[in-house]
Amino acid sequence: MPIVKIDDTDFTVEKGTSVLQAALANDIEIPHYCYHPALEIVGSCRMCLVKVEGMPKLQVSCNTFVGDVPSDKKIDGKYDMVVSTQDELVQQEQKNMLEFLLLNHPLDCPVCDQAGECDLQDYAFKYGNAHSRFEEDKRVRPNEYLGSQIVINHNRCILCSRCVRFTREISGSSELFVEARGYNSKISVLEEKPLDNLLAGNVADICPVGALLSTDYIHKNRIWNLDKQPSICQDCSVGCNVDVFHQKDQILRLTPRENHSVNKFFMCDKGRYGFHRFEEIERLTVPMIMSEGGFIETTWDEAIEKTVDELNGAGKGIAGIASPFHTNEANFMLGRLVNGNVGTLPPITSEEINYPSGFRISGDRSPNRHGMNDVCPSIVDDFASAVERKDIRFLYLLDDGIDRELNELWKGMLEKIDFVVVQSYAMTDVSKCADIVLPGQAPFEREGTITNDMGRVQWLRPSVTTKGESRPDWEIPMLIQSKHAGVEGLTDVSSVMNEMGKDFAAYSDITFFRLGDQGLPLNGKAEE
């Protein structure tokens, strides 16, 4: 394998690795704009220039590849390539390139939403000149809408063409192109074919400057005010890794987080803007008991006592409805509570979409069906029909959430059962059928593990605090079960995972520590 020397350090790299990749993989910073690991290399920004020994001019490191050289031609008898990123000439060129890039760039960082996570800002600060020699008027163009969600500020654009390549290579829809040539060139879109595919939001993420902006987040806040929490998208069974940006328990935006086993670098707009669904819901925060006139608020102690009473009275006629929207831990505790007599609601589906790059939007809108089936092995799919033949008197129901609509069959079935407990975060169709409603957590409040449709277990971290008196989803069935059985309850979600590992071998060595940011494939089940 070739040996490359970058700034006095030796690295052994795969043949055909670019210098930029080799440097980035080893934490050596080379500034770059047009290079993106998921996209084709064009070498148009010229920011990643490095000095390569034996080559007369500076080279773009993204498009210079390390190859095997015959041993007699090796530099110092050892290196296939010797690269300097700190050479005086390199530094001068970086300054010059930045001066070029900033010729027509407005210095409007105070009003730019990218400020704080802007490559141009960072590199200009780190590598650039303090002053521009450009005294003429800057080119000014009005903002344009490329699609319903994406607006472009032409003034800020540095024409790295990441967005154009994204639409050609990742989404395959090719809406964007570079119009005209030279001074007049700009990113453009055909009027009859705007940028409205389901991956459009990603172009705002990959834009290294503040040119492409998502209208959903524009002028909402400043990036340094927000807290960033790694999490998992809960809008389909793919389980894209995301970063949740929030402030004061309010989520402001979601961005994709790199995970090569799941979503690579991107996420779809359904998940990206999906969190808005939870903003104005009828959130449940206190336990409620159904009486003559309607629901009456009560305390947790009373609610649990009543549930346990009913549970005792029901004898063997108890069942539970697990939910593919909840964590493995919640479903596991539910299974324990109802002695494994578990069913589920009909799935919520939509069209499955596959992109040429391999990016996938699953047809199953629930994030954790795989995990639910794992921890509730005897699950009954067509529960509503199956229940007819059984004498069910107590039903504990984990509610899927605000997207769930109940059909007549289910409504009729729920009415027949003596006592229905619904654990939910909102007043949904399901909650309305309950005798007692126990407030659980909403998405983005939950903590636990979820398993995507490829069998990858991922750590779902809470991004915002749990509202009101609501309790963690796993804790509510646990409290009822421990009170019912008269045993000591579990104290935290890790101990639930531990218990779960005892019952299901596939989950036996799963801990938060081992899951980390990237998750783990299930033992022997994962496709990788």
Partner: protein, 163 residues
Amino acid sequence: MSNNGAPKQSFSFADPDKVQNILSQYPDKQSALLPLLHLAQSEEGYISSAVIDTISEIVDCHQALVMDCVSFYTMLYTKPHGRHIIQVCQTLSCSLNGADGLVDHVTAKCGIKPGETTDDNRFTLMKVECLGSCGTAPVVQVNNDYHESLTLEEFEKLLESLK
């Protein structure tokens, strides 16, 4: 986009054999893009959005890609134009050698700004990027001919000679 508001019409090549002939000369379809565009321009006079649709179907690529190509080359016109197209180079050498003066001259004489056509359809004035003749700046391309090292007087004579 420069063809805003143009009514959408369908376009088809007058001689399909010619199209097939062009396509057969290249290893893949997309390489035939430029000759096809030239052919379409010779038939239609300019590249309309209908032309783009037709060609994108023939070469099997997105319209945006065709538009990318069309907007890159100044010889491909996206609007109807006059009989004589005056393209004044704007890039460094020509600019330093008085290209702006030539543009102002046309504007003063014919009353058209860059991008406009005279009422009698005689001239269309365009500012273009480098015409690749920097050694003999300033350069003006009239239709397909270069006129190099122009002074204002010569340019004036040139304009007079074009009818």
